[in-house]
Symmetry: C2
Subunit: 86 residues, 2 copies
């Protein structure tokens, strides 16, 4: 669980995807257009982010829209604060 989370965050491309999703929900294709990386690779990154519950996906017609899930961030915050305390 924490494993999936840290694994997902351990990649510059995936972190950049999260940063972009902060602004607005985006389709897989829109996200892919932000990078010089093939669509299948981006699709793979998105799956890793989804498994970590960092993003949610929703099919709208022929598109798949991705959105940021910030609630999982709270767990990460908690983890860090625990390390800092005492």
């Amino acid at each position: 669980m924490m494993n999936e989370l840290f694994k997902a965050l351990n990649d510059e491309t995936r972190r950049e995807i999260l940063n972009n999703l902060k602004e607005r929900d985006m389709s897989a294709g829109d996200i892919a257009d932000l990078f010089n990386i093939s669509k299948p690779s981006i699709s793979h990154h998105l799956e890793i982010l989804r498994k970590a519950d960092l993003v949610r996906s929703e099919k709208r017609g022929q598109f798949v829209f991705y959105s940021l899930n910030t609630t999982i961030m709270d767990e990460l915050l908690q983890w860090i604060l625990t390390l800092k305390k005492t």
Copy 2:
């Protein structure tokens, strides 16, 4: 920089090391004794944590003591909060 940080955190053993250092400073050998992993491997993990500035090391006689550096955690906190905000 953020790369080194996330890379360092992306390993259960290293996260466990950090948790143990929260309690008290420990020598490399003491840390190694906590795990069923060879001392060279632990030494390698410690180097990765050190490069990420998550731990500091100090030689005391023939021992090398490691301590947690929590200031770097603040950067991580900031990163997460930025993702959450708006």
